[in-house]
């Protein structure tokens, strides 16, 4: 291919060439890193919470009347909720996955152990907890109704039995067989025995590292006069049950406030709002960048074609085919883009290093983003230059004979 004449022609308009190359370089660096951030966020957002999100909702109830008894009310509320048409199961739970607020504690294997063996979020539930979360026991058993203790916000948490997630069981007992083992939920005895292991359940905090370290505690535990409930419904009946529950609970005791009913889908939407916003903003940046760069290439190529109309005519008159002219401009664009991309590859890693600073858990840009970016920008460049190049190919040879 006729590369040498292309290069010598390019050398005569170095500045324009550098400008297009620089634009391509910056575009590659930004697009690769932005795309990587988007993929990472999407990965975070796709982690399952371990529960049935579409058919579950949660709400709080706070009593204020004189003589309000949170424990009696909790039993009445649970009975009412479980009896509502369309309800599969209901439990009390101080928090849920995606709620972004809750209780976590260190779990010890020895009394007075200096550093906890694992951190875990706690959900205080009754024997309906597992069924309401719609998570699954993979070993051991569920809580028995008689094991559910009556607790207060200030109680020490030393339950005789607990259920843990597989992630937490593996962390505490890497050899397996966590069922039957004892741990310390408090720095002092008595110990708590693991009676069951569930497959998946997330902590309330989506930003936590060990997000599946969860312990279920058998306990009815209102925070003062505040209690929280979780309700799972039959498929498709969530919104209807929500309204029904709100109405019936409201009239069952007017000495308390029923908080806003929120589906787990709403909680998920809110928990990842910032990640979603970041993704959308970065997508917009990528789109604008590619558009601007493509338009820049079109503009510059059009200018070059216009500037060289006479030379093109001369080449055509000397026997060059239309295809040869077209190829000339495509090759020229390929060369400039490639130069820009090589610089851009280096810039991409520079940018990635900057992004790494002050960011917990961020990773360096994986290698395959850069070659993928190369291919995309090569294609973009060729498409952008196609219009002007086709126009160039249509320049009639007769132009050569005209004076300017």
């Amino acid at each position: 291919m006729e590369i040498r004449p292309i290069i010598s022609a390019l050398m005569r308009s170095k500045v324009s060439m550098i400008l297009i190359g620089l634009q391509v370089a910056l575009t590659l660096a930004i697009v690769c890193n932005a795309l990587f951030i988007i993929v990472e966020r999407a990965h975070l957002m796709n982690r399952p919470s371990g529960m049935n999100e579409s058919e579950t909702f949660t709400f709080g109830s706070s009593g204020f009347a004189q003589g309000y008894d949170a424990h009696t009310q909790m039993q009445a509320d649970l009975a009412l909720l479980r009896g509502l048409p369309g309800v599969v199961d209901a439990t009390t739970s101080n928090s849920t996955p995606l709620a972004n607020g809750g209780w976590d504690t260190g779990i010890l294997l020895q009394p007075k152990q200096k550093t906890p063996s694992a951190d875990s979020a706690l959900y205080f539930v009754d024997s309906h907890g597992i069924n309401t979360f719609d998570t699954h026991l993979i070993a051991g058993r569920n809580f028995k109704p008689e094991e559910i203790a009556t607790m207060d916000q200030g109680s020490r948490v030393q339950p005789p039995v607990i259920i843990v997630t597989k992630a937490l069981a593996d962390k505490l007992f890497p050899d397996g067989n966590a069922v039957g083992k004892s741990v310390y939920m408090d720095e002092d005895p008595p110990t708590s025995t693991i009676v069951g292991v569930i497959d998946h359940l997330q902590e309330p905090w989506v930003t936590n590292k060990d997000i599946e370290n969860v312990t279920l505690i058998p306990g009815y535990m209102p925070y003062g006069n505040y209690s929280r409930y979780l309700v799972r419904t039959e498929p498709g009946r969530r919104d209807e049950v929500m309204k029904d529950a709100e109405q019936k609970l409201g009239v069952s005791n007017t000495g308390r406030i029923i908080g806003k009913m929120r589906s787990l889908e709403t909680l998920r939407h809110e928990a990842y709002a910032n990640d979603r916003a970041m993704m959308i903003i970065l997508l917009a940046v990528i789109f604008c960048l590619l558009t601007i760069t493509a338009l820049g290439i079109v503009g510059m190529a059009s200018f070059w074609v216009a500037q060289r109309t006479k030379q093109i005519g001369t080449r055509r008159a000397l026997g060059a085919s239309r295809g040869a002219i077209l190829r000339y401009f495509l090759t020229e664009n390929f060369l400039i883009t490639t130069g820009g991309l090589i610089v851009g590859g280096v810039l991409a890693y520079g940018l990635s290093l900057w992004l790494l600073t002050n960011t917990d858990g961020a990773r360096l840009l994986p290698w395959y983003y850069v070659p993928m970016g190369f291919v995309c920008l090569w294609i973009l460049g060729q498409i952008a230059v196609l219009g002007p190049a086709t126009r160039a190919a249509r320049v009639p040879p007769a132009v050569a004979t005209r004076s300017v």
Partner: protein
């Protein structure tokens, strides 16, 4: 001459409408991307109380576990215990001081049309109002005596007063919360807080506090804070044991009017902790932190890393747009070599040609700036839609509008400089030969 060059510039821009549009849109999107992100970053990190942010200090004491630091980086806990807050309040060594915590109480309106509802407020001391200066619409704050007397008084926030009393002067009336009546002594007006900087632990962008009432009165309710509570070891059962525990759940602010007072207070804190060590508390090495408002906001990363990254990328995008504009202007001016040669041959100086083309670039920049400003407005609408919590910071701000216009014109002139310089160094003789 300026008017003539302006006319020439406009005519030249009209001759190539597509190219002109490309340049203007390029600059405008670049400006919009960078200014939208910069506005959010600037307003997030903006000093909320510039006239005294250097005097207000947030107290942190390291009462944490001997073996495990509060955080891996060794920073002290972000809140203090009840007993330490009490000790510091009783000592009263600062010019002003206020311990505080967030609390949620049920409000039982007298108006039976309104159902009882949960309200989020703050238990604090009288000095809070002198320190953070919320503007009062009606009435005023309570005083130190009322702090001591556990007075049943309350200052309502704007929203709660709106909801219960339709925004009327409610001072002197009572409000029933959790079964107890409180006398309303003041109503806060429009307190435009972009970030609730005095309690960053419980959400810098949470809704404003709906009421304020004396801390001493709140403790009598024996109700825990509705904000964050952290313990490194479980307290013994019961409210009194909780108060005596090493759980942190309160914020402690002090106002120190001079650097000398700050130094005094620092050594006071060190002495306090050393005394406590003798009593068996504070097993960790001395690690007190006394940050002022802006330092505390930085420490708590109010400007999130995402916002910094977005701003960085916004400006990188602006650079791409400028490089694009330089290229297009260069192309455009180079095509005019013949015209330039003719003008130079007819006696125009280099300076004249330079002025003419710089004005043309300036027009592109100004149009880009104006369009960019409109796009920035749209961009901020988008940010508000995307980030519910940034609704108070994603606002067009006068100083930012000024920066936008200046940025647009300066960028366009910078972008126009090289192409213009190339244009005016055209040799007339070379162009006039056929």
């Amino acid at each position: 001459m300026f008017a003539y060059y302006l006319e020439l510039g406009l005519r030249s821009l009209r001759r190539n409408p597509i190219l002109t549009a490309l340049m203007v849109i390029g600059i405008a999107t670049g400006i919009a991307a960078s200014m939208t992100t910069l506005t959010v970053m600037y307003l997030l990190g903006n000093d909320p109380i510039p006239w005294k942010s250097g005097k207000l200090h947030y107290v942190q004491l390291d009462n944490w576990d001997a073996n495990n630091p509060w955080r891996d980086d060794g920073k002290p806990p972000d809140q203090v215990t009840y007993q330490d807050a009490q000790a510091l309040m009783a000592a009263g060594k600062a010019d002003k001081q206020a311990a505080m915590f967030k609390i949620s109480l049920p409000v039982q309106p007298e108006n039976k049309d309104l159902k009882p509802f949960q309200s989020l407020g703050r238990a604090t001391y009288a000095d809070f109002f002198g320190m953070f200066e919320p503007p009062f619409k009606y009435g005023g704050a309570w005083n130190h005596d009322q702090d001591k007397q556990h007075a049943h008084v309350v200052v309502l926030g704007k929203d709660l007063n709106e909801k219960l009393f339709g925004g009327q002067d409610s001072t002197g009336k009572t409000i029933r919360m959790s079964g107890t009546d409180y006398t309303i002594i003041g109503v806060v007006g429009d307190w435009k807080l972009r970030t609730r900087y005095y309690d960053l632990t419980n959400g810098a962008f949470s809704d404003p506090d709906e009421f304020f009432f004396p801390y001493t009165t709140a403790i009598d309710l024996k109700q825990r804070s509705s904000g964050n509570n952290s313990c490194f070891k479980s307290p013994e059962p019961g409210w009194d044991a909780y108060l005596q525990s090493d759980c942190v759940w309160q914020q402690m602010w002090v106002e120190l009017d001079s650097p000398a007072r700050l130094a005094e207070y620092k050594s006071f804190l060190d002495n306090y902790v050393n005394e406590q060590k003798k009593l068996g508390r504070f097993p960790r090495p001395l690690n007190n932190q006394l940050l002022n408002v802006t330092e505390w906001m930085k420490d708590q990363k109010v400007v999130s890393r995402d916002v910094q990254v977005q701003t960085g990328l916004g400006f990188a995008f602006l650079i791409v747009c400028l490089v694009n504009t330089i290229g297009l202007l260069l192309a455009k001016f180079t095509r005019k070599s013949g015209e330039i040669g003719l003008r130079r041959a007819l006696g125009a100086s280099k300076r004249d040609v330079f002025t003419q083309f710089l004005i043309e670039s300036g027009v592109v920049g100004l149009s880009g700036g104006v369009l960019g400003l409109i796009l920035t407005g749209l961009g901020l609408v988008a940010v508000r839609a995307l980030y519910e919590e940034y609704k108070t910071v994603a606002q067009l701000d006068w100083s930012m509008i000024g920066v936008t216009i200046v940025l647009a014109v300066v960028s366009a002139l910078l972008a126009g400089l090289y192409p213009t310089w190339r244009a005016c160094s055209v040799q007339p003789a070379a162009q006039l030969k056929v």
